[in-house]
Symmetry: C2
Amino acid sequence: MAHSKEMTRIGVIGAGPSGMSLLYHLAKMELEGKHIPDVVCYEKQPECGGLWNFDWRTGVDEHGEPIHGSMYRHLWTNGPKECLEFPDYTFDKHFGKAIPSFPTRKVVLDYMNGRWKTVDARRFFRVNTNVQKVIYNPKENNFTVWARDQVEDKDLPLETFSHIIVSTGHFSVPNMPYFKGVETFPGRVLHSHDFRDARDFKGKRLLVIGSSYSAEDISLHCVKFGAKSIVCSTRSGPMGFKWPVQIQERPLLERIEGQMVYFNDGSSTEVDTIIYCTGYKHSFRFLPDNLRLKTENSLYPPNLYKGIIWIKSGNNKLMYIGMQDQYYTMTMFDAQSFWACRVILGETILPEKETMEADIARWIQKLENATSTVQEIDFQTEYVMDLCHDSGYEHNLDVKDMFNHWEETKIENITTYRDHVYKSKFTGTVSCKHHKPFMAALDDRYEDL
Amino acid sequence: MAHSKEMTRIGVIGAGPSGMSLLYHLAKMELEGKHIPDVVCYEKQPECGGLWNFDWRTGVDEHGEPIHGSMYRHLWTNGPKECLEFPDYTFDKHFGKAIPSFPTRKVVLDYMNGRWKTVDARRFFRVNTNVQKVIYNPKENNFTVWARDQVEDKDLPLETFSHIIVSTGHFSVPNMPYFKGVETFPGRVLHSHDFRDARDFKGKRLLVIGSSYSAEDISLHCVKFGAKSIVCSTRSGPMGFKWPVQIQERPLLERIEGQMVYFNDGSSTEVDTIIYCTGYKHSFRFLPDNLRLKTENSLYPPNLYKGIIWIKSGNNKLMYIGMQDQYYTMTMFDAQSFWACRVILGETILPEKETMEADIARWIQKLENATSTVQEIDFQTEYVMDLCHDSGYEHNLDVKDMFNHWEETKIENITTYRDHVYKSKFTGTVSCKHHKPFMAALDDRYEDL
């Protein structure tokens, strides 16, 4: 059988920060004179931006598709903006002045949109388009995509791609374990995925279940906006922060009876609302098992060479961007995307499968030795830097010192960590303080930055 | 090309009342000595029962699939049970005594389960199984089904069927139109699909948007459980019932500014929560366009011969059960299912396509002439009776007199219509009154029936 020359054609699924970094780099490479392949970026929302879009709906959208967004109205970043600054599009370049280190969500989205607009990436978009199914065709060594135009309410013609990039995120499908009696609770039971506005919980006594970023931030958030009290139930020991008086920690929830909740130390309390901050699941309903990443939220998910190339199906043309647990965020997706572009354009050649598998094993072993927060930050820094070195990404993205400092400020005072200032690694600009401390700032107008 | 004898194999999607009626009739026919084909019934929930299962989750389930259920905790039927009584499994047969005419949801589910248990239908089940895709193969004249075992988290092998029955309901995908400013509303915005427990709205001032059964019942429900006030906004004129003092009607919502809501008569009010009771969309994300029913909520959806056979693709082997707007419910699904079984078993031969199209056109024309509630009830009665005559369904399902009486009791007093008694068409048993009037009965224990 004659082998036809395979056409390179890239299907990107998801136009959030990860997908947009990939489009950005391809478009930028083209501006620099390279020939780039045909690219289609599917996005089920009406706009790019991923989780940074605020959606007033919860549950399912008007087309019956699960809502992607978990964004809440008054979110401020929970890490310093200086740790997610793009070196080739700095905050100074976008804002023209110093802004606080923990901006509101609109500010972050505006910043990212600014970078994306410096190249013409919109031509790759198919927004309001939901990918229903992707399969790999071994004979043809390509992928088929079934997608649907949600607005026109019709199936699109099948499309074929040589490469698929999955950049659909992993903070959309709630992990919501059953607790005995939850079905009898008379108040609202929700997952942080559906949390939109803390003002709805004013005066309420809340049970927050969870011990990571969502639990921490939603608890503070609700205190800020007038919740009466919050009990935070954690499975693996207290978060241990110096909470404001309204927040108390309790151990694992054991059962619920009416409005009474019981913990496994025998204590109990009455609450009005239960908010699950129990995290999310990696979920790719459009992918068959042989292409589907299955992982806990991990700094190094399995079966991904360089945390990117899906090695299980042997074709090396399915890539995942942004699937790691996060200290690094935008810049990590950016390094991953740049590395992926190198591979797609044939500028980086992948090693043999055994070599890739051994490499994955080494990183996973390294991760097992990272048992403290400092070590985890080191790990992810090393991961990001390795991608940069391997791809020739021309900037140094190492911000571990800022991350470590940030972690210390949280331990020092969880209510004031957002009031600290940081210095840009790339411009030296020191951020300014917000005009009000985080816990007092109730009005998040964009203009107040 | 030799034509192989096509094997009859039935794929049923959805084990709610519609799907269960189909399984019931097939199993019953087998008990009566008929040979029935191989049957597989896919159900994404852990149990049969469809919308009658109460799900404490909202939005998406633990597998990332949209939640099917819209059931709320304290639901009572909104029509007399005597209008949905199975003639071959009466209330007397199940309960052994008279029970009230507007039972709670658990009572209804228990009753239906009782009927389903009189035959062995569970052997057809694949619960916790989500159908992702169905296509029709013209050459082979059969259907391929992609499904996923949600608990094992894996793709199932492809299955082939000669017939597909779609019985997935049409009260799961919210219709939730945008109103100017809704994204700024600081309180909770939810669709009735996510409404679970009225006690969560105690003391609140609600805006309910809508004018049909959900708006009516959720409003009363919330008053019953202590909501402070309810403004009901309707697009096409007031429902006009004699509401309790806490409920007022207003015309079309125009815009929302913070907590203030403005109507198109210039009036406005401040509310704490917005509940959309704006209905649902027929949605079949697993079906391609050429097999997919697209319809408003209608007493006679288009392209369905006898309201059942999908005529657009020419194969006549795709059937929909339960897709009509409803006065009749369980008994209509039962008549549809019986009729469908006759066709599947070759006992009823379908006419030519032109004849079927003409028949559909006649019914749609008839529907256009049904402009009042009485006429609509007449229409659907005629529809159900036509199915019964055509299939030899051996019972008379006509309960239009009871429906008309029920409508009158609602106009007379919307808060007491559930306190009326009705007589069983099949046993003559008169229901008993609930031990408390509906508006005073806050504790819905099954034992209180």
